[in-house]
Symmetry: C2
Subunit: 194 residues, 2 copies
DNA sequence: AAATAATGTTAATCTAGTTTAACATTTATT
DNA sequence: AATAAATGTTAAACTAGATTAACATTATTT
């Protein structure tokens, strides 16, 4: 298994010794999923968090009216999972499905506490990761509060130009919290402006 | 200074020894603010996180059009601060202002790293706190995605019945992301239904 | 007790974004 | 190459929530 992408990622945040790397690596599970496969399903307990080595996933939920709402995408060097379900080991509200064939490294719940205790630096690392995720989540709330759909689309576009190329437009609309028809209108509006 | 409320709070998450409590307590700062005072101002660096012993605060930002948007309230046993600014020591996007006279315990940025190293249990504690905050933030995004303003109001009401009593209605509206006029309409609508 | 400031209500008009529905284009499958 | 499935577009009618503005009520200050 090639754990290198994950180790490089972690070493940007904390510095692990060789033994620590070896120990941690021995606990990891490598997996491949095909496009369309589910990594997590609404109602199941998320017993692992996944580091994406390659590919692309969407995390979404289906509301009472059967409508799909995308909360986040995941690409190379991102984490994916329902953290709420992972930490509480309660049934998840979300699905994670592959939009492309995806390779990932899984860190399972039953090793994480033990790993934190053995290698406190990893607990620090995950603290920092979650802090960043929280800050990003708050920023998204702020954008949804005071920006128009058009401006949210432009921000998404500037922030993640690579992602926009890789996913169908109706998923971008879902992520932005608007209908695909309205995004289509926004795009044609932007095109005319130029 | 009375650090007991904070220590009880922490001991629900991790168990500190007496020496650890003493050490940590020695680093804390106790402060009182009056209603109306600012604990943090947009543009300033948030150099402390604050544990609320008593009182009530709002965290908000003012957008380009001069409109105030409330991101969260804080009451007894809650934390308040712009965590993004705190961890990165960059200027804050948010204000934190007291809605009531407020007593708090401050943990300053310059002691936090040192404290984490000396007492890894506290790093664990804060990891867990941030995890919960992140999960709550995601849930809020979900609600804003697929619930009407009326339903969001009802959820807020059920989740924080104590808070609703303590703050003016226009602030609830701001928190929900709607105008005070529309909240007024929602409330009269709810009243007629019964 | 009067005056002022802060908070809350109502109603008319307006708009960003939804819904519905029909059609167009691109991609995948046989 | 033909067909089906997935994705994207356009336009008309609609709705949740915003805006404006006038007024009502409740606190606070003098």
């Amino acid at each position: 298994m090639n754990s290198q992408p994950l180790l490089s990622y972690i070493n940007k945040i904390v510095t692990l010794t060789e033994e620590e790397e070896t120990y941690f690596t021995s606990k990891l599970v490598y997996r491949k999923y095909l496009k369309g496969q589910y990594i997590l399903q609404q109602g199941d307990v998320s017993n692992k968090i996944c580091f994406i080595v390659s590919g692309c996933v969407k995390m979404f939920y289906v509301d009472d009216l059967g409508q799909e709402h995308i909360l986040m995408f995941g690409v190379e060097n991102w984490w994916t999972s329902d953290l709420g379900s992972f930490v509480s080991q309660a049934p998840s509200d979300f699905n994670v499905q592959c939009i492309e064939d995806t390779e990932l490294i899984q860190v399972s719940h039953n090793i994480i506490e033990d790993t934190y205790s053995k290698i406190p630096k990893l607990e620090r690392c995950f603290r920092i990761i979650v802090e960043k995720a929280y800050v990003a989540s708050q920023k998204r709330i702020v954008r949804n509060f005071s920006m128009s759909a058009k401006d949210r689309y432009l921000v998404f576009n500037e922030s993640y130009p690579e992602i926009e190329q890789r996913i169908p437009q109706y998923m971008v609309a879902s992520y932005l919290g608007i209908t695909k028809e309205f995004l289509s209108k926004i795009k044609s509006q932007i095109a005319t402006e130029k």
